[in-house]
């Protein structure tokens, strides 16, 4: 199946439509809530939570014996939240640092989850096949009810986001100020964390424990490069996330043996790479261009300044001088000379240059003007 075929089939084929819709919605909600995780410098919290959710899935299965997605996700949610609050407990109450706490909870919960999974496997009544799909995710197992759940959660998240927009925003950028204003910071904090955990748990089925953190981070990190405004960033991140989902599904569906999760993550990584390089404000490419332009301007001004220094000792400012006396040190190259002539600040004739009236004035006011030019 080629990609064009895929986009034709998407309107008619039930499975494809469901999966595409699911990954798109997932990408959107992850991008939306991931923005908060990135800005709160909790990027790796997602990684820890997604791993911490594993024992919850296993325990939910052990208790109910059902493979109903919602039950399992509820278990994941509980153990994800448990992990999150334990991380906080470690950071707040002991001298262990954030990274250690995250790594600890991540690996310990995951190990415990693996113990439970292998334990379940050995049970006689185990129809557990399918539990391990939460490890790497299988977008193909998405059914309409899963997608409906995702849409509902996204809707609720969006509603809460709009309802508490001002609180979320102020807590994000100035926690102390929020406290002095009398907001219940603990409540807002728990609320936003709860939704981040919820988004992660929703994604487990599709992209799996290991790659979930990238779903959360990548769209937000990409969106961050294009804007300095929170609302725009969240909007962009949701769009990037949704597109990563759709493109990832399309690519993986058009080839054999390509699991969806990793492809989605790679597509998101491409979004990030492109944003890093090409974003106009912060991107590496434009930063480099600006850098070089500034340097050229500076060299130009240096040459002009030097010319001014010579010219002002003469009565006639346009008295010609030899080009020979300029050197590299004064920022002089053939190009700068041409540029100066283009701007009509000097006149070149043969191997001589002379300052024009305009150039003289320009050089005289160079340092007065430079502040107003910026």
């Amino acid at each position: 199946m080629t990609i064009t075929e895929y986009f034709n089939l998407i309107w008619t084929d039930y499975t494809l439509r469901t999966i595409t819709l699911g990954t798109a919605v997932l990408g959107a909600i992850c991008g939306m809530l991931g923005s908060f995780a990135v800005l709160r410098k909790q990027s790796l919290l997602g990684d820890a939570i997604s791993h911490a959710a594993l024992p919850g899935i296993a325990i939910a299965f052990l208790i109910t014996g059902a493979k109903d997605t919602n039950t399992l996700l509820l278990g994941a949610l509980v153990s994800g939240l448990l992990g999150t609050f334990w991380i906080r407990g470690i950071i707040n109450k002991t001298h262990l640092k954030t990274d250690t706490a995250l790594g600890l909870i991540l690996s310990l919960f995951f190990g415990f989850g693996m113990l439970l999974l292998t334990f379940i496997q050995k049970q006689p009544n185990a129809n557990q096949a399918g539990l391990d799909k939460y490890l790497f995710g299988q977008a193909a197992t998405l059914v309409e009810s899963d997608v409906r759940l995702m849409v509902i959660v996204t809707g609720i998240a969006l509603f809460v986001l709009l309802l508490f927009w001002k609180e979320f925003k102020i807590l994000l950028f100035d926690a102390d100020y929020t406290k002095t204003l009398g907001f219940n910071t603990k409540f807002i904090d728990v609320l936003i964390t709860f939704f981040i955990v919820l988004a992660i748990v929703l994604g487990l089925q599709t992209v799996g424990v290991v790659l979930m953190s990238a779903m959360l981070l990548a769209p937000a990190a990409a969106a961050r490069q294009w804007t300095n405004k929170l609302s725009t960033m969240i909007f962009l991140a949701a769009i990037f996330g949704a597109f990563s989902g759709v493109f990832g599904t399309a690519i993986s569906a058009s080839q054999n043996n390509l699991s969806t999760g990793p492809v989605i993550v790679l597509v998101a990584a491409v979004f990030v790479a492109v944003s890093f390089v090409f974003s106009p404000g912060r991107g590496l490419l434009f930063r480099q261009i600006r850098f070089q332009q500034n340097r050229r301007d500076l060299e130009l001004q240096k040459t002009l300044q030097f010319m001014y220094g010579i010219a002002k000792t003469h009565e006639d400012i346009s008295h010609p001088h030899a080009i020979r006396i300029l050197n590299n040190f004064h920022g002089f190259t053939k190009k700068t000379l041409q540029k100066l002539e283009e701007k009509q600040w000097i006149i070149l004739s043969g191997s001589q240059w002379s300052l024009t009236e305009e150039g003289f004035q320009k050089a005289k006011n160079l340092y007065n003007q430079s502040s107003s030019n910026d």
Binding site: V38, K93, T100, S107, G111
Partner: protein
């Protein structure tokens, strides 16, 4: 015990020691999560190495995989240096991408390759004794035992050789540069050693549980001591203990060995986290409560010192005046009485000489901004603590 059982425990113990030593430095340098990143992003290296060698235990594969671990570190630092995102975001972006490449490489070649992601991520110690090293037809024991053994010897040798340098560059980067010990070399040295260890161990315990073996013993030991040498020894001990105990737990439950080793580590950490003598949760909560009472005591004494009028010092008025709950005021009052700081006559509270002396000294320290001297002062007065 059968001989494979002994071999498995031996491998587990060696892996635990080999992981614990670099783990201590990672935890102290606040780079614990780098181990998580490396453990995931070695996957493409392993897959490529496997295409070439077709042997999960070949040294070339280990080198290639370790190289991809070091590349991860370099990539993370390069992204971080652009200033576009924070360090943790950089880590979170790099390793899932590399891991995805690895997964896709495996999936695309699933038919030719005898390697699956579960095996790499989760490992299976139980199979380790079956892959034996044959030298000229003689059975020399399990291959992974040899590999991890060599890595462990190298780690210990490096640790002994560079102990001083590691210590200085971990705790004081400025001093270490001034002494001519390059922090960059130390950093990349540690990263390389960690990569090699993780790669060597992933086969036995899996990529994610390697992280547990690196971080958990070190973190647990850090709660128990502040001495680097003791911390190293303790984390080695905790690692080995959890490895052996985990093995027997797995035997009992008939479940994954690496999973139960991690669970064991988790149980040990939980115990220490709760009950560690000075840095554990209970100790910290108790100390915080104690300090809260003592601050209240000081406030109370200052209040008494400020007021000579009777109504301000009446025992029933104190509650409403300083705005304390009943229990709180009784605790503070009792503590003050027990310390002979106050005396009560006709329901009027007044400072004793000792109380007066204590309060004056405290005021002296507070107004000269030497708050930190109040803590030792409590010992000087042989205070009964709150």
């Amino acid at each position: 015990m059968t001989s494979p059982q002994i071999e498995i425990q031996l491998i587990a113990a060696i892996v635990a020691i080999a992981c614990a030593i670099p783990g201590v430095f990672l935890v102290l340098r606040k780079m614990a999560l780098i181990s998580d990143a490396i453990s995931h992003s070695i996957l493409p290296g392993i897959v490529l190495g496997f295409f070439i060698t077709h042997d999960l235990n070949s040294p070339l594969l280990i080198l290639l995989a370790a190289l991809s671990g070091v590349i991860t570190v370099i990539l993370v630092e390069a992204i971080q240096k652009t200033g576009l995102v924070k360090e943790d975001t950089a880590i979170g972006l790099v390793f899932p991408a590399l891991f995805s490449i690895g997964v896709i490489l495996i999936a695309k070649n699933a038919n030719d390759v005898h390697l699956d992601v579960d095996a790499v991520l989760l490992g299976e110690l139980a199979f380790a004794p079956f892959d034996r090293l044959l030298l000229g037809g003689i059975d020399m024991g399990p291959k992974s035992l040899w590999i991890m053994g060599i890595i462990l010897v190298a780690i210990i040798a490096l640790l002994l050789l560079f102990y001083k340098e590691l210590k200085v560059s971990t705790f004081d980067i400025g001093l270490s540069s001034a002494l001519g010990i390059s922090p960059v070399i130390m950093h990349y040295g540690l990263m390389s050693v960690s990569s090699v260890t993780i790669v060597g161990a992933f086969d036995a315990v899996g990529a994610i549980l390697v992280v547990a073996l690196m971080i958990a013993p070190a973190a647990t030991a850090y709660l128990l001591t502040s001495d680097l040498k003791k911390m190293l020894l303790l984390s080695v001990f905790i690692g080995v203990f959890s490895a052996i105990a985990g093995y027997w737990m797995a035997n009992l439950l008939d479940a994954s060995i690496s999973g139960s080793m991690t669970t064991m580590l988790g149980i040990v950490f939980l115990g220490v986290y709760l009950f560690a003598p000075r840095k554990g949760l209970i100790a910290v909560l108790y100390r915080q409560k104690q300090q809260r009472t003592e601050v209240s005591l000081l406030t109370f004494l200052l209040h008494l010192n400020n007021h000579s009028e009777a109504e301000e010092r009446h025992i029933n008025h104190l509650q409403e005046h300083i705005n304390w709950q009943r229990v709180r005021s009784r605790t503070v009052l009792n503590l003050a009485l027990k310390n002979n700081m106050i005396e009560i006559q006709d329901d009027l509270v007044s400072l004793t000489d000792k109380g007066k002396e204590f309060t004056d000294l405290a005021i002296e320290y507070i107004i000269t901004n030497k708050d930190e001297k109040i803590e030792p002062m409590k010992d000087d007065f042989f205070l009964f603590r709150g």
